[in-house]
Structure formats: C-alpha cells, structure tokens
Symmetry: C2
Subunit: 270 residues, 2 copies
C-alpha cells in the first residue's frame, strides 16, 4: 500500500520552512504543500483565540487540497493543535510543541531547561505542559523574545546589534539558578539566530530546535497510520496569503534551497 497524497505543512510565514527542510530530508519520497499565512503574520504577538481561528482556516485550506496529514510548523499555532485536530479528525495533525519537549528532555534529562519563544507561546505555557506530560518535573524557565522574529525576517542574524538583543533577553535566563543545561528554541524562526544565541549562551548550554524531532514524529505517524508513499515523484508546492515573490525570495534562506516564484500560489484565507 502506498499513499501518494501530499503532506500539508503550515506556518504564519516563512519560519516553518526550517521544519519543511527537515521533513524533505527525512521523507524524500513524500510530496509536500506548504502554506505561509504571510498576510497576517506574525502570530506570536496575537491572542490565542485569533491564532486558533487562523490555524483552523489554514488547516481547512490544506485539507481542501487533498493532504493526508497536517503539520503545524509554527510553535505559536501549535498551541491550537487540539482544536485543529478536532476539526480535521480522523486526519492526523502534528504540531512542533510535543517533539520540541521531547528533544529538550533528550538534551538535558535532568534539566534545567530554558524555553525561549514568542509572547503568545510563553503566555500559554505549552512547552511546560508538554514536558510535564512526558512525566518530567525538571525546572523550566521561560522567556519571550519578541524581537527575534523581525530580526530573522530582516535577515539581521549576527553581529553586535543582534548579540546585544540576545543578551538582553537571555540575561535573566542565564542568571537563573540552577543554570539551564539546554535552551529550547521554541519558535521556528529562532534557528536563524542560532550563532548569536550560542555566542551569548556559551559552549556549555545545548541549543535544541524541534525541526528534526518533528520530522521524526511525522515519519512515525505515517508508518503507524499506513499512509507512507513508497514510490513515485515527490512534489513540492507553496501557498502564501501575501506577496508570493517576497515569499520565494526570503523563504529560500529558511528552506536552504531556492524557491521558484512560479511555484508559489497566492490564496486568501477566511
């Protein structure tokens, strides 16, 4: 049995392309449709209610295009995984929060773990809940870093300005006692700033990002449900709610490969 239907992946914008990159690497026989809600980004400063509504609309648009599974490649939107899963049942839905929590525990089994993420993700405490759901009671500190997304989107990812902003946010985290053994990059944009974060955090703290663990979890789900694609041409297409040209140009940095502007379709979500 082989299931050639594509896997739907969505994010508020381009950050989720770091997750798509790992998915393509882990699942070279699968086709993917990526949706970036660029007309309404960012999600991370918006309320949980609004983010849930946007996530449900994005998931519905992917389902309308015949996907066999939906991956929420955005930490902020992943707080709505349950609401999206309810809407899409019995189609499998996977967010990045649970895989991220698992990766953080693998890197620092006894903690402490620092979670850095958007305001809305931190406020919702989803990573803390996911780590607790894995049966761990390690110490967890959380820190919102609202300027990281605009920095990454402008491509300003290293140098003194970036390090000063990283130090501003990480200061309280690094001074918390006991000192964190791992920092979980709880936003798909943050790996773009990994160099600057590592410089400020120092070599003793592991930086964990959820993209790779999320790809492993998707592979496991496909096997479990018997919906892997065992052969045939793997296709890659993109949907954006604003400025497809800009998406193709700026997105290539996050995806790590060029994006053909002609492969990006402009759609409206409502």
């Amino acid at each position: 049995m082989s299931d050639p239907r594509p896997i739907g992946v969505f994010d508020s914008g381009m950050g989720g392309l770091t997750v798509l990159r790992e998915l393509i690497r882990a699942l070279p026989d699968e086709s993917f449709i990526y949706l970036g809600d660029t007309a309404r980004l960012p999600y991370g400063t918006k309320s949980a209610d609004t983010v849930r509504r946007y996530a449900q609309q994005a998931a519905a648009a992917l389902v309308a295009r015949g996907v066999k599974m939906v991956v929420i490649a955005c930490n902020t939107a992943s707080i709505s995984s349950a609401a999206v899963a309810e809407l899409l049942a019995p189609l499998p839905v996977l967010g990045v929060i649970a895989p991220g929590a698992k990766a953080a525990l693998a890197a620092a089994p006894d903690g402490p773990v620092a979670v850095i993420a958007t305001e809305t993700t931190v406020k919702g405490g989803a990573y803390r809940a996911a780590i607790r759901a894995l049966g761990s009671d390690i110490p967890i500190v959380q820190q919102a870093c609202p300027l990281f997304v605009p920095l990454a989107e402008e491509g300003l990812v290293e140098g003194p300005i970036v390090e000063a902003i990283v130090a501003r946010y990480l200061g309280p985290v690094l001074e918390s006692m006991p000192r964190p053994k791992a920092i979980l990059l709880g936003c798909t944009h943050y790996p773009a700033l990994k160099g600057a974060i590592a410089k400020v955090a120092g070599p003793e703290i592991a930086l964990v990002d959820s993209a790779k663990t999320a790809a492993d979890a998707v592979a496991a789900t496909l096997r479990e449900k018997g919906i892997t694609n065992s052969g045939g041409a793997a296709a890659l297409s993109f949907l954006a709610t604003d400025a497809p040209d800009r998406f193709a140009r700026a997105g290539a940095i996050f995806l790590g490969q060029p994006i053909d502007p002609g492969a990006v379709e402009l759609i409206d979500l409502q």
Copy 2:
C-alpha cells in the same frame, strides 16, 4: 448647523493613536471611533494589494458605525487613500501622507528631505509623489526601517541597542550629499523613537511628524464640508480586531492617556 456624528480613525494597530492624540487636542468638541487592526498588523511589510484590501474593510466597518469622515492614521495604509475614498464617496477620507509632505516642506522648503518609513511605504514612493504634487522638486532620499515598529511596540525606544539600530538605518541617509535638512517620520510608530533618532541625526536636522499637520487638515475638511460639531458631549471609543486588553494597555503609551479596557470592543474584519 452642528454634526455630532463621530470621526472614524484607523490604523494597523496602535501607532495611529499618536494621530488621534493630536486630533483630540485640535478638535475637543468632536467624537472619535478608533479602529486598530491588531489581528493583522503590521501592514508595513505586506503588499500594496493586501494593504488596500485591509484598508477598505476597516473603512467600511467605520462607515457602518455612522462616522462622518474617515482618517487613515497609518502611513502604509494611506497609500490606499484613493481606493478608500472611491469606496466611501461622498464621505471625506484623509490620509497622513499629504499632510506629512506639507510638514516636511515647511521644515525644509529647499530640501533635501529624508523620508524614513516602512518597506511598503518606501517601495510605493508615496511621499516622493506627494512632495512633487505640491510643486516641489527638492532632493528626496528614502530609507525603510523595518525594525522600528517592533521596537516601538515592545516599548524598547531608547538606549544603546535602539541607537545602534537607528544608526544602521540612518547611516546611508546622513551620508547622502547634500545632507538632509529634515527627516520625515513617515510611520506613526516612529515618533516613539524620536529621542534616539534625534541623538543619531544631531541637532541640525529637523524631525518632522505628520500627526499635527494631519489634525489641521482634518479640521479644515470639517469646516469646508460644514460638518463640524459645535457642542455636546465628545465621546471616544475603540475597536480592535485582536486582544482588546493588550490594546488598552500598550495603546495608552501612544495615546498619552489611559484607555479603559471596557471601552475597547473586539470586532472581526472581512
């Protein structure tokens, strides 16, 4: 004749409250309804087409509430003034671009003028066109400053990080020859960073913001159309498309007076 209907004012978020502040000061007998499209901010990184659609939806929502005039208190959305005016005719519509252009010429009649604004405003060249439309051929340089809005919204408006970011954007502007005599703050968020901008630009360059000139233009339009309110209680109410509590809290800084969270109504735009 007295017209007690409110004046509608809208912006992508909270920056336009700096314009509302000047409007209240200039027109104490008028009532205002302010709409912040907080669920879809920022506008400044989105395409002109999407911004036009959002501006038309916001203006229509204000008209549905019985306003006598619409003020587009957002520079990026002001590039859509003509499209909004067409939709709302014969209701008067006023953006901040033309008043800003007038204020810049008053500050530096022979130029050169530097316009700093969002990516979309700079790309559209609206200020250049508005200055030319006033019959002036002074030299104009433009510079997009995409990080200013997130900095202002996080309340990070002074200190070494902000000055380094200001210097990064203003460097090419200050080195352009001949040196600008005025910098036009072409985004309603930018006055929040005025101190840091002044420090980097130095005392010889005038900083111009369009809020006061825009308020004068609104007053002139009301008189011209014979729709001023000469008496009665002036009311102030707010609409936001996301997170009314956050709007009330953060908006108070831009408005310069407290906002009662109970006076902020959550609405949906489509």
